[in-house]
Amino acid sequence: MNVERRRPVPASLAGVTTSRRGQSPAAFDAPVKVAVDGLNFYYGTKRALDGISIQIRSNLVTALIGPSGCGKSTFLRTLNRMNDIIPDTRVEGTVLIDDQSIYESRVDVVQLRRRVGMVFQKSNPFPKSIFENVAYGLRINGLVKTRAELEGRVEESLQQAAIWEEVKDRLQESALALSGGQQQRLCIARALAIRPEILLMDEPASALDPIATQRIEELIYELKKKYTIVIVTHNMQQAARVSDQTAFFWLGRLVEFDRTDKIFTAPAEKLTEDYVTGRCG
């Protein structure tokens, strides 16, 4: 990395970033999957997002960072229209996924959410068996015809989420009996079961211990081969470790969006630099 550093960045950040970058050269010229233009979002009269424009590319991991209340989670939730269920909210601007606007009135929100999966901050398995948790999305969307097909898709999803080995002998047990980290991976499996194209992750590891966090991060690294991933995180090191591109949000605005190594080593904006080095926020 021969970018000139304007200010020293903790070695742990830069180091991890470069090592990961070395393993897998990210395709920064990949096609644009999500194109957002002039996005404003309001809770009642309060503006939470202010003129966000960003292009998210296929099969890259895009991290959204910024202090609490900066709008990164709100932005994430505009991508699968999860904010629709919150009363008194309003969206302006355009969000295109594969060149199709998702906020037109003829868009079927249910179809959209099938294409754009989501994993939440707090793992939220349904109070049912492990099997039923993964099978739910397949059943309600009518994606499988036979029992064998259903079982196959459940296994495939659990394997993709790297939890199959731990649960294969107790699929009928309650999902609530799993540990926090397992529950979160189950929720990822559940999201993958309906084969989305984009996976939104809202601080998926913030409630987990370091080992469980590491497993989730390794998983994200695997998943980006098949999915476009957008992840909100409070953890700067995590953003540096898992993402290819990073967007820095501040007070509802997108301050800077660039390759992750650039954001962490040579940000263009003073505000970004202050934030990633821990001087503010």
Binding site: V110, R114, F120, N124, P127, S174, A177, A191
Partner: protein
């Protein structure tokens, strides 16, 4: 000083609890003393009679069971559906808020009023006559506000993370309610239903108002059959001049109490089973 006040308050609340329990204890003791000896298998299987010794509660017991089952069958689906509408679909509309206020008021309306409504609406206009259906419909009206209020309460306790998880998988609103929200709310809904039914099974006034206070020499054989229920039988016996019938009344009260406790026990068992399901 504050410590003393604290202890004083604790003693006071304890005392009031003891008074309430003592009153209940004396009541039960008194009834058991009066009617306990009269209880027998014959008393349950014999039909009403002019002879106090031969009289039993069979018809009234069967009538009560019929009426309460039909009441449950009517008030559960209607009550739950109404609560789902108010809680999940219409929460923000002005109409919903107006309905909500009125449901709270309805829960406080004296039961005789429901009886008069039942007489006018079910017995006369809908020509159900003095049937099980008319009685159960009237009691269902009485139970509905409680069922609706407790169902809404139960729906509200389902965490939003579960709803979001379901929506995020491409579930529709109805799929989310049916597959995730209702099963989680079920224990609370059942508790509310049983509470409402416990009240309904002891009601006398509305059933007298619709004309169920007549001598019925048979047990109901369907929903259009005439009927009598335990509270009416008790009311009937208490109003007789002969002291032997007072004993019968006490014994019938015991039967009603046991029926009530059985219902509550069933509710607790059902609730615990649903609560542990998915958790164990």
């Amino acid at each position: 000083m504050r410590k003393h006040a604290d202890r004083l308050f604790q003693a006071l609340s304890m005392a009031t609890l003891i008074i309430a329990l003592a009153a209940l204890g004396v009541l039960i003791f008194d009834i058991v003393k009066d009617g306990g000896s009269r209880l027998s298998w014959q008393f349950l299987t014999n039909i009403a009679s002019r002879n106090a010794d031969e009289a039993g509660v069979y018809h009234a017991l069967m009538g009560s069971i019929w009426v309460i089952l039909i009441t449950a069958a009517l008030s559960l689906p209607i009550g739950v559906a109404a609560a789902i509408y108010l809680e999940e679909y219409g929460t923000r509309s002005r109409v919903a808020r107006f309905i909500e206020l009125n449901i709270a008021n309805l829960a406080a309306v004296p039961s005789i009023i429901y009886g008069l409504l039942g007489l006018g609406l079910f017995v006369r206009i809908m020509a159900m006559g003095q049937s099980v259906m008319a009685g159960a419909s009237t009691l269902a009206l009485l139970a509905l506000p409680v069922v609706i209020l407790s169902t809404r309460e139960a729906l509200r306790t389902v965490p939003s993370t579960i709803r979001e998880g379901s929506y995020a998988l491409g579930a529709t609103k109805w799929q989310t309610i049916w597959n995730q929200v209702l099963p989680m709310a079920l224990p609370g809904i059942l508790t509310g239903l049983i509470l409402a039914l416990s009240r309904a099974i002891g009601e006398t006034a509305p059933l007298i108002a619709i004309g169920a206070l007549t001598y019925i020499p048979f047990a109901p054989d369907g929903i259009w059959s005439k009927f009598t229920v335990l509270p009416i039988q008790i009311f009937n016996w208490v109003s007789r001049p002969q002291p032997e019938f007072k004993v019968n009344a006490a014994a019938a009260i015991l039967v009603l109490l046991v029926l009530l406790l059985t219902m509550n026990a069933v509710a607790v068992v059902v609730r615990d089973r649903f609560q542990s399901r998915g958790r164990g």
